[in-house]
Amino acid sequence: MKREQPDISGKAVSGCITLNQGAGMSRGAATVGRRTAVPFWRDERVLKVLAQIAFVVLVLAIGLWALSNYRERGLKFSFGFLDEEASFDLAEGIAFSPTDSYARAFLVGVVNTARVASLGIVLATLLGLVTGIARLSDNWLVSKIASIYIEIVRNTPLLVQLFFLYFAVILKLPQLKVRDEITAITLPGPTYLSNRGLALPWPRPSESFGSWWPFLVVALIVTVLLWILRARGVQRTGHPSFNFLWVVSAFVTVPVIGWLVVPGNPLVLDVPVIEGLRATGGTVLSPEFVALTLGLVVYTGAFIAEVVRAGILAVPKGQTEAARAQGFTNGQILRLIVLPQALRVIIPPLISQYLNLTKNSSLAVGIGFLDLYAVSSTMLNQSGRVVEVFLMIMASYLSMSLSVSLIMNVVNRRIQIVER
């Protein structure tokens, strides 16, 4: 092979050399180069460098031209405005007053987006899992209902769904109170659903919470230890064990013991009470938050359902048949045989659905929820710092995307190793 190479190249010198690409081949080219000199304008190494220089010059030229246009308008670039007083109010999320700084306002937005995205990811996963499995059900009706839901949701824009949910459903709910009479939809709890949002009962820590929380930490440690021990036991003996049941009961038992030991109740259930025209106490979710979360969950859930379905279909049929032949029940087959294998296929597209959900939460601005994006555009209008605020928006979304994909990649790697 090595001896042949110069002969071949020798016959069609110029043609071949410019085409050589691989590292192994370049040695051959070099030997030929010594025999018949290649003019530098046909030498690939020179051409590569020249092409890159030309590219950089082009990009720089466009960039500098754009920058000079920017300078001509007399605009400066600095992040100093972040310390200035924001002088607008934000009604959603962590405490904020108009005298706080722009930086604090931005933080409020980031926290609100994180709230919607994290709640949305959890709920959408559950909905997607259930719908995806329902789509594959033996029951004709169940599978049809699931597929109609998926088709309708996937083929209409998210923003239209959000507008419908917010303007046509949530804002059309009954008022909280009309003339001393509660008109809101009342669910057990009591939970009030009205056009002012959703008021839920919520546990609040009392004075004895300080002596109770160590029990939670202990419970966590015990759970993790137990999980590792049980997993080892399963590996050693090969007997199936009710791992999940053990761990959950440990996680529940320790705090319950703590509850009995600690004087008084560490957590008190705070119940919403309707005072005047608004609900206080408990947790009150704003109508915008409810609409946005619900919309994102319904929309992303349909996409996750398709991901789940594809993952389950990717598991060979023989696996199900073999499991059935060994006497597994349908539930066991799904839980022990099919889902663990399907997860491998499901996780990578699931990551991109989570990222989509996070990015789609920026549509909040359309229905007036104060997420990262909506707060930023208010900041932008107030301060006029277009470029700076945009860089901050981009940096936040990019870091969120990167951290979600980082976490999910770790999960992905774990699952792949365990299985193979």
Binding site: N139, L159, Y373
Partner: protein
């Protein structure tokens, strides 16, 4: 015949309608339970929807505003130009559909030319020449609205982003480190941020970086944003197609003496682009849905018009009817497109590989 009469017929519960019911709805006790539950669910939902659609909804808001939904603020006396443009597209689409099996027919080549010509033709037809002219009076882009704007944004977005996307994909696969890094950074940044931020950027930031004498209309700015955004996604799709081309194709092309450019242009790209057609159709559908985001930056696409219609004095508070109608139009368009793309995928045999 006589022998067969001895054969025992299958039980009535195993064949026909009863058999189907038993197999699909009542195979086990929990399936029967699920069926009854689902039927109740369907009954409740259908009853609510049908009573609303037939009895309670006030569809007058939609029927009176039908033209507004379609072309929005486009001058009424010039509306014929929109219908002619639509006619051209429909004609071309029908011809393409009818001649889809006649491979190698010279008419097919003319059809491609027709499609290519139709873009500038429709552009001129819609926009017109000058403000005073007797024929084809100028209709500035800012007056384009309704479904018309939605379609223009989606189609121009995907067509304009295509060459840019191919270049970015080639750049990302290039062996030149600087080109590769810059292309990768561009693609990953755009894919990492939401479309709405790119749209806002094109509305607010783009004018700052252009010379003051260049004034882009809001529609043009939105189009720029859509194109820049879509190009990153096209690039990833094309990259997938490029990765699917076996290395032997490159090697064979080089062996017959083609240079880098010709290898790409004549051998690799044609095969890669054919393989990514279904992905591009999928991208077009999602871009079509994403055009609704221009509502947030103040443009009047179909959803923007719908929002404006809900504010009309005589139809106040009819959000349900208006948004349901908008959703129905989007559903009809997207469902048809995804159905067509599934057929296309079968025709191209992409799924079979």
């Amino acid at each position: 015949m006589a022998v067969q009469s001895d054969v025992v017929k299958p039980p009535r519960t195993e064949v026909g309608l009863l058999g189907w019911l038993k197999k699909n709805l009542f195979s086990t006790w929990y399936n029967a339970l699920l069926t009854i539950f689902s039927m109740t669910f369907i009954y409740v939902v259908l009853r609510a929807v049908i009573t609303w659609v037939v009895r309670d909804a006030r569809w007058a808001v939609v029927t009176t505003n039908l033209k507004v939904f379609m072309i929005g603020r486009y001058p009424r006396e010039e509306a014929w130009r929109v219908w002619i443009s639509l006619g051209i597209v429909v004609l071309l689409a029908v011809l393409t559909w009818l001649l889809r099996r006649a491979a190698g027919n010279p008419i097919q080549r003319w059809l491609v030319v027709g499609w290519l010509l139709s873009f500038p033709l429709i552009g001129i037809l819609l926009r017109g020449f000058s403000r005073e002219g007797p024929f084809l009076r100028l209709v500035p882009e800012d007056l384009w609205s309704g479904l018309l704007l939605t379609l223009v944004l989606a189609i121009v977005g995907i067509v304009a982003s295509f060459p840019l996307g191919v270049l970015l994909a080639l750049g990302r696969r290039s062996k030149l480190p600087i080109v590769k890094t810059l292309c990768t950074v561009y693609i990953e940044t755009i894919r990492g941020v939401p479309l709405i931020s790119v749209l806002f950027m094109s509305q607010l930031m783009l004018p700052l970086f252009l010379p003051p004498e260049v004034r882009l209309s809001t529609v043009m700015r939105a189009l720029t944003g859509m194109t820049l955004f879509s190009a990153a996604y096209t690039a990833e799709n094309v990259r997938g197609g490029l990765a699917a081309i076996p290395i032997g194709q490159y090697e064979a092309a080089r062996a017959v003496g083609l240079n880098e450019v010709l290898v790409m242009g004549l051998i690799v790209l044609p095969q890669a682009l054919r393989a990514v057609i279904p992905a591009i159709v999928g991208q077009f559908i999602s871009l079509f849905k994403d055009t609704t985001l221009v509502t947030i930056v103040g443009l009047l696409d179909l959803l923007g018009i719908a929002k404006a219609v809900t504010g009309q004095q005589e139809f106040i508070g009819l959000h349900k009817e208006v948004y349901a109608f908008a959703a129905a139009i989007f559903f009809a368009c997207c469902y048809t497109m995804s159905y067509a793309s599934r057929r296309l995928e079968q025709a191209l045999g992409v799924g079979e590989r």
